[in-house]
Amino acid sequence: MDDLNKETHTAIAHYLTALADDELVLAHRDSEWTGHAPILEEDIAFSNIAQDEMGHALLWYNQLSGLTGLDPDRLVFFREASEFRNVQMVELPKGDWAFTILRQYLFDAYELVQLKWLERSPLPILADPAAKIRREEIYHFRHTGAWTQRLGMGTGESNRRMQRALDELWPFAGQLFSRNESTWPLVIAGTIPDPVDQWSEWQTLVVPFLTGSGLKLPGEINSIAAERTHHTDHLSDLLLDLQEVARSDPEASW
C-alpha cells in the first residue's frame, strides 16, 4: 500500500474507520441484551451476533492498523465521539425487542448488499475481510428476517411495536447510502461501491419484505443525511460505558 497517494490513503482510512465503527457500535448495542433478552434462545442468539459483529469490527480495525499503524485498542477506547465515523442508526439506544430486531434486520440487509460488492473490490484490504464477513452475515440476516416476519404478522401489539420501530428507524436509513466527500475518490476509482446504487438494491431487498410482513412504509427516506462524524448524544453515552474501564487505567496491560 506504499504507493498510494495521500488522498487515496486518507480516503481508504476513512472508509475502513466507518466500516469498523459501524460494527463496533452495533456490537455494543447488541451486547446490551446479554442476560436481558425476552427468551433464553434470543439471549444466546444476540450474544452470538454481538460477538460476531465485534469480530468483524476487529478485522476492519486490523486492516486500518496495517495501513496507518494505529493500534485498534487506542482507536476503540481513546477516541472522542466526534472522531467516530459510524452511522447514527447503530448508536440509537437498544429500545424494545421490536426496535432491536428491526434495526439489526435493516443493517444486516445493508451489509449484505455492501459486502457482496466489496468482496470483488480490486483492493485486497477491502475484499478479503468482506468475503469472510459476508458468509457469517447470512446467518444474521436469516435470523432477523424471521423475527421481522414473526413480529410484524404476530399479534396487534407486536405489529404496533414493529410499526413504531420502522417509523423511528426509516429516516436514519438515508445515512447508510449517502455519498461522502472524503471517500468519493474511491468510488471514482472503482474501489468501493457508489452508495446511491446500493440504495436501490437495498430497497429491492427490504421494501417488499417489510410490506409483506404487515408493515407500512413511512414514506420517502430523507436523502440529505448527516455527515458520518455528526452524532446524536447517544454515542457519547455509549462510549462512556464502552471506554470506562480502559480509561480508568490507560497504561494497564490486558
Binding site: E41, I44, A45, S47, N48, I49, Q51, D52, E53, M54, G55, H56, L58, L59, P124, A127, D128, P129, A131, K132, I133, R135, E136, I138, Y139, R142, H143
Partner: protein, 164 residues
C-alpha cells in the same frame, strides 16, 4: 535452532497435527483446515493460519499453541501469521475430522461448495442415532461455530458445527 537439527516442512506439519482445536479437543488445527501454509527459511519457521469465525476468541490460544509446539521441535524463530484469504470454509474439514466431530456429539457441517445458504434447506443428522427426524432449535449456540438442534427420534438435543 540447534546446529545439526534440520526442520523440514513435513516434520512441522506432523507436529501441528498434535495441536488440537481449543474448543473441540478431538480434532487438530490441521484437520480443521485452520493451518494454511508452513514455510522454513533458514532459521525462521513461518506458519500461516486462518480463523474459522471472525470473532472466535480461541484464535489467540491457537496462535500460542502452534508457536509453543514448534518451539518444542527446537525452532527459535517462529512466526504465526493470520491470513484472511481465501476465507475459511467448513468444507475444508477433513473426512476423518468429520467422523471425530460426530463421535464428540457434534454433527459435522454439510458440504456446500461455497453456497452456505443452500445448507438452510438441509436437516441436521443426529450424531447419536443417525436420524434425520431433527429440528433446529437455534441457529446460534454456545460458541459462534455451533447451532442447536433436537432429535425427535432419540429425543436428544445436540449441536452441529455450522456450515461456513
Amino acid at each position: 535452532m540447534e546446529r545439526g537439527l534440520c526442520l523440514t516442512t513435513s516434520l512441522i506439519w506432523k507436529a501441528l497435527e498434535e495441536v488440537k482445536d481449543p474448543e473441540i479437543p478431538v480434532v487438530s488445527l490441521v484437520e480443521m483446515g485452520i493451518v494454511r501454509e508452513v514455510a522454513v527459511d533458514d532459521q525462521v519457521v513461518v506458519i500461516m493460519i486462518t480463523p474459522t469465525f471472525a470473532g472466535c476468541p480461541a484464535l489467540q490460544v491457537m496462535i500460542n499453541d502452534v508457536e509453543a509446539r514448534i518451539r518444542q521441535l527446537g525452532a527459535e524463530d517462529v512466526k504465526v501469521e493470520v491470513v484472511l484469504a481465501p476465507p475459511w470454509s467448513s468444507d475444508w474439514i477433513t473426512p476423518e475430522a468429520r467422523v471425530k466431530l460426530k463421535s464428540f456429539g457434534l454433527a459435522p457441517p454439510p458440504v456446500h461448495g461455497g453456497r452456505v445458504e443452500m445448507t438452510f434447506f438441509e436437516v441436521a443428522v443426529c450424531p447419536y442415532c443417525d436420524s434425520k427426524n431433527t429440528v433446529v432449535k437455534n441457529d446460534f449456540g454456545p460458541t459462534l461455530c455451533r447451532s442447536i438442534h433436537y432429535c425427535q427420534q432419540c429425543r436428544q438435543p445436540f449441536e452441529q458445527f455450522k456450515a461456513l
